[in-house]
Symmetry: C2
């Protein structure tokens, strides 16, 4: 007995947990990472699989695209975040499928990972809704690479125009954003600031007043989840800062140098940023599970998969619904609350209890429109706007950023940008080796 306990204690920290139930989490976004963290003190062995070695704070990608922040400020190594957690193992890999009978997750490199409980949290990808030319010509904004590519492209437009001012006529300095949700609004606001505060000083030989930001939205309002007064405030603020807001406008096709709108209007533009929609990560299509609109996986009220009680889906990938049967919105707080919920259900099952239904608690919504301007709404109906909402937005996002180091980096970058109206990150890094292949 004594010898056995001693040898056990001499085993590495992974081995100590080897006989525990295995929870495999696919995806290190807001939901998957949160779940790995809240399982810290549970008697389970967790494997977190992601195809990237870092977690991305997606809500700030637009600041990377507009040269306010560098990618490292909003991304952090998963291994670094989870380093001190003994029951978590991180695996870099692309999941290609699941062997349901053998309870194995299959990776692209051929290695299987056995699970007792599987949690799918791979989120959503950009959707072009089948609109012609979007996949080829529009810029998505879902990863640090896409944000850097957009930054490079935007800065390049000013360089090109400096060399050949006649290009303005063909839309070289027209920046179009499609989608009037929070991302589109934040991006449009950040683009006019980039132009007014940075480009104007950096390119003294350029007629910067001819640069132009257009925000295109299919419905009759911006930032749908908000109260009509907040929506109106966002529209008014953007317009007062020089953004052309086109509501009730649908995109029919996108080409390399124009966007074609329903009704026949054509806007010459070489930069079209697509924030108009998402669909479930394509992995969802390969699992043989029921899906609903946008490819989201159908789940039971407790977030488990029908017929697979040991499989849960959380975040943007899950077709979870509220009590009225409406699909939940796809946003970070849903994913994080889904993670907390799944952790609680695993605990209930160990205690022999039935699982609970997942109940989303709205903690409020906010969106920033630019310097000193934002809108925020609390669940009790309180609404804020302008500088106060903006300070709330700053505080909340700093608090939510993962890892003290990147929080510190973001704080200093923001402070610098605010005090100097400068953008320190206006480097065209990462895409310069093939300029001829770029539009």
């Amino acid at each position: 007995m004594m010898a056995t306990r001693d040898s056990r204690e001499m085993l590495g920290r992974e081995d100590r947990h080897k006989d525990r139930p295995r929870v495999v989490i696919v995806g290190g976004g807001f939901g998957g990472l949160r779940l790995a963290q809240v399982l810290e003190d549970e008697p389970v062995q967790v494997t977190l699989v992601d195809r990237r070695n870092f977690h991305t704070f997606q809500p700030l990608l637009y600041q990377v695209a507009t040269a306010m922040l560098d990618p490292a400020a909003i991304a952090r190594s998963l291994r670094a975040i989870l380093r001190r957690q003994a029951n978590v193992e991180v695996r870099l890999g692309t999941v290609t499928g699941v062997d349901w009978a053998a309870k194995l997750v299959l990776l692209a490199d051929g290695t299987p990972i056995a699970f007792d409980t599987l949690v799918l949290a791979t989120g959503a990808v950009t959707s072009d809704y089948g609109i012609e030319g979007v996949a080829e010509h529009a810029f998505p904004l879902k990863s640090p690479e896409e944000a850097l590519r957009l930054r490079h492209h935007v800065l390049e437009r000013f360089e090109r125009t400096l060399a050949d001012p006649a290009r303005i006529e063909s839309g070289e300095l027209t920046f179009s954003v499609v989608g009037g949700g929070p991302t589109g609004v934040e991006l449009a606001g950040a683009l006019v600031e980039l132009i007014d505060n940075v480009v104007r000083k950096d390119f003294p030989g350029l007629d910067v007043d001819r640069a132009h930001v257009v925000l295109i939205e299919a419905t009759d309002h911006l930032i749908d989840p908000f109260h009509p007064r907040s929506r109106e405030n966002a529209r008014h603020t953007l317009e007062s800062r020089g953004v052309e807001v086109r509501l009730g406008t649908t995109v029919e096709a996108v080409t390399a140098d124009a966007v074609h709108l329903a009704g026949g209007a054509v806007v010459p533009t070489r930069t079209l940023i697509w924030t108009a929609g998402v669909r479930a990560n394509p992995l969802a299509d390969r699992l043989g599970l029921d899906q609903t609109q946008g490819g989201r996986i159908v789940v039971e009220p407790d977030l488990s998969v029908p017929g697979h009680p040991d499989v849960f889906v959380i975040g943007d990938l899950a077709a979870s619904r509220d009590l009225d049967g409406n699909l939940h919105p796809q946003m970070a707080p849903l994913a994080q609350q889904g993670a907390d919920h799944v952790a609680a259900q695993l605990r209930r099952r160990r205690q022999g209890l039935a699982t609970d239904r997942f109940d989303y608690r709205n903690k409020g919504v906010m969106a920033t429109i630019g310097r000193n301007a934002a809108v925020a709404e609390l669940p009790n109906g309180l609404r804020f706007r302008g500088r106060l909402a903006w300070v709330m937005w700053l505080a909340l996002h700093l608090q939510r950023l993962v890892g003290y180091r990147s929080r510190f980096e973001v704080l200093t970058s923001w402070a610098w940008n605010y005090l100097t109206t400068d953008r320190t990150a206006r480097l065209m890094v990462g895409a310069a080796d093939e300029p001829s292949t770029r539009r």
Copy 2:
């Protein structure tokens, strides 16, 4: 008269300088950027052409590659640096040739730039000396993208080994550095630190002791510009930290999974970093000017081109020589002193004086080997090593970094790394979309 002066004053700042002699500088590295800056108060209109929109502090690229710094910390927008300088215009473009008769610099996009004085400062590129496999399989380290690609590749080796430990046998964790100059020594030192301080904690399931750094150098000593005692100290320090230093060793060929050495020895390795040599930027080959070893352009003692008194060459591109006729070394201080020299010669010519010969003043050399370890030598023969030399190195590099903002960023990153022995930048950003095409 009055009216004329008024209209002149109303012109933009570029136009005010339009009738001044035009100095075109090709290349925004240490030499070209310095020259643009020291011409600030001279009666000339300066155009600085570079194919990137930023200046790179190349001596710290190895820290980007080893996840100590992010690219933005060592790169800064040329427009930002030169923003307040009224007589400088920055042009993004790739120079493809020079029309000597018409005095035009030709850009890839077809636009010509007229010059009265031309200064070539495009520096050097990595040279493989024609050794088989280097171009395909070795990692160069001359740009932020190359540094990020190397970082991604190194971190990926540990991820792959975690998934399949048998890979260690085939050199998955063997990191080879070819070239025992300051860059190779600094890189080898930083790699063992990355492995010991970061990988060991991030990959608890991995047998990190089997990771291995090899430094291969053809001569019988490291860091050639230094005194034999400093060379010996560098070798001893590296070896005591676990680097295998192979002196007097020549590379015959490189493959995807091994380096073949003269004499028949084969070292299995999937990571070979090539710091063994440079040659002049290929632009030099297209100008019809006399070149010497490594493609460097032959210059008069005053750095002008024979037969072209209005054309100067500075920095790594110039085959400048000391009084004994030996080619100058290719390093940043040479380029910067060359810039100061050319500015002085333009002034002398305006005053009707003959040009002076360029005389390089050695202000000392230093190289860091890792935490608390460096070697430094002053021109008066004073030598420093260990922690004192390391602190000198830190102070000098911080002082030399262009732009207060990146200096601040580097300082905080270094302080964090030093105090925590952590590396904040260990993100595999920038190369993950085509993992199958990567070794």
